[in-house]
């Protein structure tokens, strides 16, 4: 069965290319959301197998989205890979411990992204 991946990132073009690229090189079904609030709604409704979540977003930021996902019993077991454009967020992400499963610093190559997704999915299945 196809794995469903949800990308929550306010950069619409980034979401577009990640969706196109992952669909081309894997069997994932990709859903995107460009706002934190919308992302949470989609996660609850569609129950993706994994979420790629950007940290810095206007409105509800990635850390708040993560908190809300982990509080809700429908979404708390979905593995999350955090996306960041800032190296300095690494320490913040590490502090999240088991709340997030991995992280990726932008810009990221398809092969790295795909590798990380497979790794997290294989650990958490």
């Amino acid at each position: 069965m196809e794995k469903k991946i949800l990308i929550i990132d306010d950069e619409e073009d980034f979401c577009y290319f990640v969706k196109k690229n992952l669909e081309a090189i894997s069997n994932f079904e990709i859903i995107t959301a460009t706002k934190g609030k919308k992302g949470i709604q989609i996660a609850r409704k569609k129950k993706p197998d994994l979420i790629l979540l950007d940290i810095m977003m206007p409105g509800i930021d990635g850390l708040e989205v993560l908190k809300r996902l982990k509080k809700n019993e429908n979404t708390q077991n979905i593995p999350v890979i955090m996306l960041t454009a800032k190296d300095e967020d690494e320490s913040k992400i590490k502090a999240l411990g088991s709340f997030c499963d991995d992280y990726i610093v932008k810009p990221v190559e398809n092969v790295v992204l795909k590798g990380k997704i497979h790794k997290v999915l294989s650990i958490t299945k």
């Binding site: 073009d13 577009y16 290319f17 990640v18 690229n21 081309a24 800032k86 190296d87 932008k106």
Partner: protein, 367 residues
């Protein structure tokens, strides 16, 4: 060591008399000049600690013009020597910022006090200039740090999109045309390069905390050299080491200091595109170099490469200054290297002779 004084005086008897006075006072006189032109030539060759200059000289260049050339070109202090001083001449002389005037005839004790004050004043001015330059440099770095932290996020996001877009095109088009594949590869390569620059910039904004451990620098250099083992350019480059026999242990951050050695070795290799030799030395500083010498370890990385011009050498630690733009240098490597060494309470200096090679010298306190 005796201070060297160059005498510029067109009356030979007077010059000989001054020379004797200076020698009696403990100075050395490596030469005398009788004209302004000769004074400039001798100052360039001898590089004395001070020039004692007669204002009125025969020939096209008078003492004031010669003094102006000597102090601006070689940074050598000048003390004027004159038998009479009219207001107009003094005004002209003042513009050249002399370190003193002495009126002929004079006694030894007058000469001595004026010479000593001039030498001390010049030493202090040099020190002040160096401190000012360091201050400007650190202010610049701090401003750059604040700026880069702010823009890093704004740049990395579009870079993510450029890379995603390039890889999308790669999937869609590269099978059709090899020129397209080459173009996409170049876009990707530039994206990574821009990303590296942003990451390097961020290191300025967040000088990472030192995780120090006590390490023998010789061991760390050996470890760093092993990283170069499989690099192809080394085929043409011989690396020699001469390690201190004394056990000197440094309190250093292993990763950061390894980065320092790596950067210096890479620079040395890149300075020798046609091959050459690198000499790495560690030694305890000679007592004559500093009063703290018995606590200071010196690490030298010398190459036999192209060398760096004097003009470039003055700017070598400035962020974004690079002599290898065509080789895709970002101009941040050496500035970062110096920051790391300074953070370890040490210093990094560079000496170079164009056509002969460059030596990077690190001084660090040891235990």
């Amino acid at each position: 060591m005796k201070k060297q004084i160059l005498i510029v005086e067109d009356e030979r008897i007077v010059a000989a008399d001054i020379k004797m006075s200076l020698q009696r006072l403990g100075y050395s006189v490596p030469g005398t000049a009788v004209s302004g032109e000769e004074a400039v030539k001798k100052a360039e060759k001898i590089r004395p600690d001070l020039v004692l200059m007669d204002i009125v000289l025969e020939g096209e260049m008078d003492g004031i013009e010669a003094a102006s050339a000597i102090s601006s070109r070689f940074d050598i202090p000048v003390v004027y020597l004159t038998a009479y001083a009219d207001k107009k001449m003094l005004e002209r002389a003042k513009v050249t910022e002399p370190f003193g005037y002495i009126l002929k005839p004079f006694e030894d004790k007058e000469l001595r006090s004026i010479m000593e004050i001039a030498l001390y004043k010049h030493k202090m001015e040099r020190k002040l200039k160096k401190t000012q330059q360091e201050l400007i440099q650190s202010e610049k770095l701090a401003a750059l740090g604040r700026f880069s932290s702010g823009i890093a996020h704004e740049i990395k996001n579009p870079l993510g999109i450029i890379l995603g877009g390039s890889e999308f095109l790669e999937i869609k088009l590269s099978k059709v045309d090899s020129d397209v594949k080459t173009a996409i590869d170049k876009i990707k390569e530039s994206t990574f390069r821009a990303n590296t620059i942003v990451q390097d910039l961020l290191k300025f904004s967040r000088p990472s905390e030192l995780k120090t451990e006590r390490i023998n620098p010789n061991d760390l250099i050996r470890e760093t050299l092993s990283l170069f083992k499989y690099r192809t350019p080394l085929i043409e480059i011989k690396i020699k080491t001469h390690f201190a026999r004394e056990q000197m242990y440094l309190d250093i951050d292993k990763n950061q200091m390894q980065q320092v050695f790596f950067n210096l070795l890479m620079n040395a290799i890149e300075a020798m595109p046609k091959g050459g030799a690198i000499m790495i030395k560690t030694y305890k500083m000679a007592p004559s170099e500093s009063s703290l010498a018995d606590k200071l370890c010196v690490i030298e990385v010398a190459d036999t490469g192209e060398g760096i011009s004097k003009k470039d050498l003055q700017r070598i630690f400035e962020p974004f200054f690079t002599t290898k733009r065509e080789r895709k240098g970002t101009g941040l490597g050496l500035s970062m290297t110096k920051i790391i060494v300074n953070n370890h309470k040490g210093d990094l200096t560079m000496e170079s002779k164009p056509g002969k090679g460059t030596t990077a010298k690190i001084v660090l306190p040891f235990h």
